[in-house]
């Protein structure tokens, strides 16, 4: 706790998750060595959340620059491809594309996989999540509750359930605990992020009925102290 107070004083714009075992000077030293990250995204979870979760999990300070829709016209021209999220590093270079940013951060902070093959497997799983986001888009933005449930059930039946069955098979084959290799990767975090979106939380109570290992994996990621602390304190948003 005192470690975080010290670094909060020094880096007042940064949101910090400190490892409670670090003493003050270790925390200060590691905060100074960190690259300066500024993540630009709307004040929603959406396509920015995976990178936020990776950074919080890894205990890496960053400026979580959130803006509302009305401010977008002012931000947009500064972004390399007129889209967000964008990661600005050390105030000088910018990276666009949500999964590229998340992969870069995962690689920088030991969450990408242990070798080329594992890294590719993690990439593959995150690409699957990209496809699931696409499938869920219409349901996510549907305002009518009854229609939303209908749309959700359809996507769940046609796309999510078949996918989860496959993932469960691969997960069990890999030892049942992590999607890739023997440790947590950003792939596990990506599945956690998708399966805890507001629509999933609202309507997806039975989504893991046939996939107990994946259910446990999602719970385990959610129970990580750094993730838990962030999730308890992050802004409550619609998406």
């Amino acid at each position: 706790v005192s470690c975080c107070v010290l670094t909060d004083l020094l880096l007042s714009n940064y949101i910090i998750s400190c490892d409670q075992n670090q003493n003050n000077s270790q925390c200060y030293q590691s905060a100074l060595k960190m690259p300066g990250y500024k993540l630009y995204y709307f004040n929603v979870r959406g396509r920015g959340e995976l990178s936020r979760l990776i950074l919080h999990y890894a205990g890496v300070p960053f400026e979580d620059f959130r803006f509302e829709g009305k401010d977008w016209p002012a931000v947009k021209p500064k972004m390399p491809f007129g889209q967000v999220p964008v990661l600005e590093v050390d105030g000088e270079k910018m990276l666009a594309q949500s999964h590229t940013i998340a992969r870069y951060l995962a690689r920088q902070h030991g969450l990408a996989g242990q070798n080329d093959w594992e890294q590719s497997q993690a990439d593959m799983y995150v690409d699957c999540i990209y496809d699931l986001h696409g499938a869920m888009r219409t349901a996510t933005w549907e305002k009518d509750a009854e229609k939303q449930k209908e749309l959700f059930d359809k996507v769940n039946q046609e796309t999510i359930q078949p996918h989860l069955e496959k993932v469960e098979q691969h997960l069990v084959k890999n030892g049942g605990v992590h999607l890739v290799g023997q440790g947590l990767t950003w792939a596990d975090i990506a599945y956690y992020a998708y399966f805890t979106t507001p629509i999933m939380t609202l309507l997806g109570g039975e989504v893991f009925n046939k996939t107990p290992h994946l259910k446990k994996l999602i719970e385990t990621v959610g129970n990580n102290p750094n993730i838990k602390k962030y999730v308890e304190t992050r802004p409550v948003t619609s998406g």
């Binding site: 007129g82 270079k93 990276l95 594309q97 590229t100 940013i101 590719s120 990439d123 690409d127």
Partner: protein, 211 residues
């Protein structure tokens, strides 16, 4: 050298496997280019990791997802970027193309020819034109003639595949009028000996897609 088997549909001739074929061809790496018909797909689908293609078999292990396969091959064969920042930039450009492929799929599958034409026009104006302008700006900033760093990466191959081998063929090159650097890049990639060898082989061996 590992044994690569790339599995994809016969149609489309290029589709989501083409970037990987270009990467392997440019790198001068042999691969088995396995193409199957849509009627064979129901039997093949359950054997894939997630029910989709392309998939890449590497000495018996299987990788899915088109960009993941392309990135893996690019990394293994010197086309991914020289350091982690360059690799991330190449990833970023490949993701741009992935989004554009998804966006063009909508008019591509439209059956009504009048609606289809309208949708393509809208797509070129609202999606392609701003993106071309943004990429031209980045090319100017990088100032090496390449999207990333100072040599060819899979990002340049991805832009060539989409902008030249697909859009230019379909719409002509008017949309590149205000983007001389992007036009120069895709012309240079088109002229690479290994790229020419591959496209000549491909076009003479496999039938063109139905329009």
């Amino acid at each position: 050298m590992p044994v690569y088997k790339l599995h994809y549909f016969k149609n489309p001739r290029q589709g989501r496997a083409e970037l990987s074929r270009l990467i392997l061809s440019q790198a001068g790496v042999e691969f088995q280019d396995i193409r199957f018909s849509h009627c064979e797909w129901p039997a093949i689908k359950p054997t894939t990791p997630f029910g989709h293609v392309p998939i890449l078999e590497v000495d018996g292990r299987v990788l899915a997802q088109s960009n993941t396969i392309a990135r893996y091959l690019a990394k293994k064969h010197g086309l991914a970027g020289k350091d982690e920042w360059e690799q991330a930039q190449a990833d970023m450009y490949a993701d741009n193309i992935h989004d554009l492929l998804n966006a063009v799929a909508v008019p591509f599958v439209e059956k009504d020819p009048v609606k289809k034409k309208e949708m393509y026009q809208h797509f070129m104006k609202v999606t392609i034109a701003p993106h071309v302008a943004a990429v031209e700006k980045q090319l100017k900033k990088n100032n090496t003639g390449y999207l990333v760093g100072n040599e060819l990466t899979w990002a340049d191959l991805a832009y060539y595949a989409y902008f030249s081998d697909f859009l230019e063929v379909k719409f002509g090159s008017a949309f590149l009028k205000g983007a001389p650097r992007l036009k120069s890049l895709i012309d240079r990639v088109k002229a690479l000996p290994n790229v020419q060898k591959w496209t000549a082989y491909r076009d003479s061996t496999y039938p063109e897609d139905d329009k």
